[in-house]
């Protein structure tokens, strides 16, 4: 929605407001990043100052240590497989919900929609028991599988309207050309729904990357730690070495930030179909 007719391009109030806003939103993040360039004594004497002189040792230590990279690897494997799983299963189920007509479709939709009400918190204790019985404690599949399951509701709710918006004429034309429903799904629906898939993919990736509660329950072995657990372990292990903790923390947030920044537009665009009434 444009307010172009009224928008004064240079309205200073808007810019000042925007700047103040950025300051508030970014302040703590900048503090973490800059803090990593200071020494502990600098931080103790003046908690809010700038590095003087700039120290690169903290970042270098973290980057040359094994722990960080091990956790990056674990987080990456988990997030990539989770994303692939959610997108694959999600688009298949959404296609059925969007384009097939059968008894029980309403119930199936309701089943997934009800999942929106229940983030993992409610199920975590029994989920831990279940994962333990499956022998998956301290393994990455032990968090990947539940993550896929818990991301399905959001994915499906976003994708169904997306797939339903594909014009019916296209489907009819494809059938006239003797394309099967599955062929239509493969050749037309998938390519056309790429923007939606990217949206749900990013959300799944970022959620997995940041996930804390599930790994906290399932992963106890340092070898399998993902970054959030790693950050916390690092923070308690080096609780006196604040600067190093800050360096570790800032490095661990880079991937999710990069990912999100690249696709921010897609996310807003992809949700457009999903949030309207």
């Amino acid at each position: 929605m444009s307010t172009a007719t009224h928008a004064k391009r240079g309205n200073p109030v808007v810019y000042v407001a925007a700047l103040a806003l950025i300051g508030v939103m970014l302040g703590p993040v900048v503090y973490i990043i800059i803090g990593g360039f200071r020494t502990n004594s600098q931080i103790t004497t003046d908690p809010a100052g700038l590095p003087d002189p700039w120290q690169f040792g903290n970042y270098a230590d973290v980057l040359t240590g094994d722990t960080f990279w091990l956790q990056v690897t674990n987080s990456t494997i988990t997030a990539v497989i989770t994303t692939a799983g959610v997108v694959t299963l999600g688009v298949m189920a959404s296609y059925v919900l969007a384009r097939y007509h059968f008894r029980g479709r309403g119930a199936m939709y309701a089943l997934f929609a009800a999942g929106l009400m229940f983030p993992p918190t409610v199920a975590i204790t029994p989920l831990y028991v279940l994962i333990k019985n499956l022998g998956l404690v301290n393994t990455l599949p032990g968090i990947i599988l539940p993550q896929i399951a818990f991301s399905l509701p959001t994915t499906i709710i976003i994708l169904v309207p997306f797939l339903r918006a594909i014009p019916r004429e296209l489907e009819e034309a494809a059938f006239i050309d003797r394309c099967s429903r599955l062929g239509f799904f493969w050749r037309m629906v998938l390519p056309l729904s790429v923007p939606g898939l990217i949206t749900v993919g990013i959300l799944a990736f970022v959620n997995s990357w940041n996930s804390y509660l599930l790994p906290l329950f399932i992963l106890n072995d340092q070898e399998t730690f993902t970054l959030p657990l790693g950050v916390q372990a690092f923070a308690s292990q080096y609780s006196v070495d604040t600067a190093k903790v800050l360096a570790f923390t800032s490095l661990s947030m880079i991937p999710a930030l990069v990912f999100f920044s690249l696709f921010e537009r897609r996310i807003v665009g992809g949700l457009t179909g999903a949030v309207k009434g």
Binding site: S2, T121, A123, V129, I148, V160, M253, E264
Partner: protein, 326 residues
Amino acid sequence: MSLTSGTRVRDGGGVAAPPPARPRRRGIGWAQRLEIVALSGPAILMFVGFVITPVLLAAYYGFYRWKGFGPPTNFVGLDNYVTILQDKLFHEALWHNAQIVVLSLVLQGPIALGLALLLNKKMRGQSIVRVLIFVPYVISEVIVGTAWALLLQSQGAVNGVLRSIGLEGLAKDWLADPSLAIWTLMLILTWKYVGFAVILFLAGMQNIPEELSEAAAMDGATYWQTQWRITLPLLGPTIRIWGFLSVIGALQLFDLVYIIWGQYVASTAGTSTMATYMVSEGRNAGNYGYGNAVAVVLFIISMIIALVYQRLVLRRDTEGALTGGR
């Protein structure tokens, strides 16, 4: 929404239920049934296996006193539930949750609306501002928690700045002072999650046809009149959906509290939630039966509130989205 574009009307609105089935051909063939099963089967299996089953298991384990090893044998009936409902710590956690639910709506809603309106204006550097404002939402709870804990501790940067600009009196023990801690938590929550609301609102605003505000402008409406009379009402459904997600999130809040206040300090600082109570009294104490009972209570409370919210607030826009469009 009758005012949105043609296709939109036809597909009945995002979170909403599937539209009434078109005149359907009689029955569906075996091939189609097979396709339906093959396509949706895996998702349903995963969902039932890892989401529904645990919730049912919780109901079962909740009746036992059980340390988590071997099958539960010590059946105690409703004892766990009686203990929970009588535990003062749980009452406190429930009260904190209630405060968080209400304050989240009251604080984040208006702020997010303002920000979304601001970001929806055409201005230079808009795309950068939009990316930057989402930064807190994108970084993990652990990072947010670690950073704010460092910033807000009594010798931390926030107090440091306050002292250096001569506002000694404002330097407080933000995290440990019980009269202050819940507000500190709200501040951090707002900072962290307002971006999510802004994303939703911005997405909702994209659905409002430009012609409407152009027409309003032509009739001499000011910017604020346009926002108040056109944007806001048309954004209603989005706002109500956001409210739903916010309430559910606030009820189940765990990560930030647990990371910043830890499992022990949270209750003395007055920030414990039902979820942190569940983890510290259940898993950390080794009482898995009890933890599961707490999960059931949390589940029931969330569900009641979700259903009430849906009946009272969501009803008119989603027409049963969450119960599957009867």
